[in-house]
Point group: C2
């Protein structure tokens, strides 16, 4: 029997010593009521909350879990490396091995630099674009998330106008909008953050259009500016290479994170020789950027990416998940919108402007052991099996039945309604 007594007690303690009780993308503030805030175990494709409830996890840590939580091969190299050296006075030779592995796999990459947050990698991309020719303007797709630095965080708190100086925004996948934005930059265009695909929260996703991607490449070349693909979220779930290989376009820089160490803290920016001097000219560093354990994990993760059928498997499993949900929804009189790559699915209800159907559905599925997000894209991982999908569909079938019965009484989440009005 599902209960959340311990989670509630932990929340009360957290409210005292953590502002707002929790912060950032793992706060439950915008999730359906009763969603657990705290977890005590993660194994394969399952997570267990503080009350002992187990869930099939479709969030994968908001991305990092690509191959399964606690993957035995990665756990082994982590334990072995931990006994040798981790954070120390210099990097280990693994930084060279990892840079060689990554540049060997990412077609546009001649070099790599490692850091901790995805936002470190995007900040380095921003700085390199500006260092490249001393120009300042940088183009960003509207609503694209590149991390929570003041130049891109989605909320205004703590941000001053100057943090957003020299950014020009355009509509994703619109070559004309991009062309207009480039014109607006005049002779001061430093770079274009192109976003591998459109993955805004609370909205349908959009795969990249090849013409848009080619336009971005051409405009960057014509203006001697750098083209940057922020692959932090999509990386290695669209290709065993930069995600824009799927549309045949190679950027000058791409940003990586999340899956890179299958959950071990490491991110990276990789680039072509064109951007090497710019990369060399900026001073960036971090206390743990040279730590060896996450690099050992990343080397093993990259090996598994190269040598296993993880990508075909998560595509197949993602397709099954989609197909199953759509069929079930129809059986119960609902219509779903499934957008984006099937390995990074976004599931929204048709005609659900205040998200109350999505929230009700996810809450009902959560109480039956399936953890999904009603507003954020989800992620597939290679530990997920056909049986997991069958178990998921059993839970979601009951969840559809549940919201069909309770439809008239479903209410939108107050916190979400407030955010939408703001």
């Amino acid at each position: 029997m599902w209960s959340n007594e311990k989670d509630r007690a932990l929340r009360e303690r957290a409210a005292e010593v953590i502002p707002g009780g929790m912060y950032g993308h793992q706060s439950t503030a915008l999730l359906p009521e009763d969603y657990p805030q705290f977890f005590t175990r993660a194994e394969g494709t399952r997570i267990t909350d503080a009350d002992g409830n187990e869930y099939i996890d479709f969030m994968c840590g908001y991305g990092p879990n690509l191959l399964g939580y606690g993957h035995p091969d990665i756990a082994r190299v982590v334990a072995e490396q931990q006994a040798r050296i981790d954070t120390s006075t210099g990097p280990s030779p693994l930084i060279v091995d990892l840079a060689e592995a990554l540049t060997g796999m990412i077609s546009h990459a001649d070099w790599a630099m490692f850091c901790k947050n995805g936002a470190d990698a995007t900040m380095m991309g921003l700085m390199m674009a500006r260092a490249y020719r001393g120009k300042r303007k940088v183009l960003l797709a509207k609503n694209a998330y590149h991390g929570s630095m003041p130049w891109n965080t989605p909320r205004p708190g703590g941000v001053v106008a100057e943090d957003r100086a020299h950014f020009i925004y355009f509509d994703y996948n619109d070559p004309q909008a991009l062309t207009d934005a480039v014109k607006q930059a005049g002779d001061d265009l430093a770079g274009i953050f192109a976003a591998p695909f459109r993955h805004d929260t609370f909205a349908d996703q959009g795969l990249p259009d090849a013409e848009y991607a080619r336009t971005a490449r051409r405009l960057a070349d014509e203006n001697d500016a750098l083209l940057i693909v922020d692959d932090v979220r999509a990386g290695f779930r669209m290709a065993r290479d930069c995600s824009w290989e799927t549309v045949g376009v190679r950027p000058d820089l791409s940003c990586w994170g999340k899956v890179l160490g299958n959950g071990q803290p490491i991110s990276a920016i990789v680039g072509s020789n064109r951007a090497r001097e710019a990369a060399q000219s900026i001073f960036v560093t971090g206390s743990y950027w040279f730590s060896a354990v996450p690099m050992a994990a990343a080397i093993e993760t990259l090996r598994l990416i190269r040598e296993t059928d993880y990508l075909e498997h998560i595509t197949m499993i993602g397709d099954q998940f989609r197909k199953g949900l759509v069929e079930q929804a129809a059986d119960f009189g609902f219509a779903l919108k499934h957008t984006g790559p099937s390995t990074i699915p976004m599931v929204l209800f048709e005609e659900d402007p205040d998200f109350k159907l999505g929230y009700g559905f996810c809450r009902a599925a959560m109480k039956r052991g399936v953890y999904m997000s009603p507003y954020h894209n989800m992620f597939m991982n290679a530990a997920m099996t056909r049986t997991d999908i069958a178990d998921t569909l059993e839970a979601t079938g009951a969840a559809f039945e549940d919201i069909k019965q309770s439809r008239a009484s479903l209410k939108p989440l107050a916190a979400l309604a407030a955010l939408m009005e703001a």
Copy 2:
């Protein structure tokens, strides 16, 4: 017999796949010739380079190693936690335990938030100060390092003028300079980054003056602005509390990192209730900020900080190191300047404007198994013994003899000379 054949071979490979061969604070670009770039083992107070040369390490990973590399108690909790849950879809209950532990130890702190880089914590401090009353101006001590974000990185590459808008610089430890800077901010003062002590590279360190600290507190109060102590570097090496408890002044916010997990990647910002609403109003997050393993390491590190005499021990060992070096230097006709806390020593030669004595000395000591920095403050750790200091002094005695003999032929480092001219 010391050799660096493998290090050289690794550097050649690194030059291909890492811009400049290495980047950031762990690059050997500004260290004496032949300093090893790559390390393969770290245990207690010793590190081993790629060629198998072992060193007594006075850099401690540029800070993180407080209790000894691979401390058995911390290694145990890391391994245990790794088997349960690390990076996942939500934080573990450890985030609450850790926030309670930290606020229980840091006198001014009512709440805590966790992140990865020290620069994440200082960036959050900056954003919170601006969010607090919607004011913009922030005061920084000249040359103080608060991380490599565009608003504070010490080199100009990739930085635009707007990144430095609304910062006002003052001389550290100078109450009048601080008062003038506050006047310059007018009615737009958001916060004061006070720096716990002066630890600029290539310069003598300076302990905080109590009148300066009290002035900073008073001016922040009078202007309804936040006072921030960046304890990323000094934290828990000056006190078992915020470093400014040593001068009796409590900030509104303090930033922590490096030692917090004894090398596991975690940093934090803690604050008083006065700053809680501001902390709650900013949106900040990171892919691995909620990972459980570094939190388990931090909880165990804090326990050892509370329950052992590590602080008294590293003070005693640091004093021995200082005293021994000063006496040796005098015996060989050199004079040293030892500045800052003895747990975070800075050792510079008198009358050595181009640092060639310091570089020659450190290089000679390095080849005899002692790893020191000729330009950056060093760090003491609790695994260091009297025997280590005796071994160190044997090596440094020979190093002093060496530079006494070779004094006329010592040359300044070309890369350093170029930097000093720039």
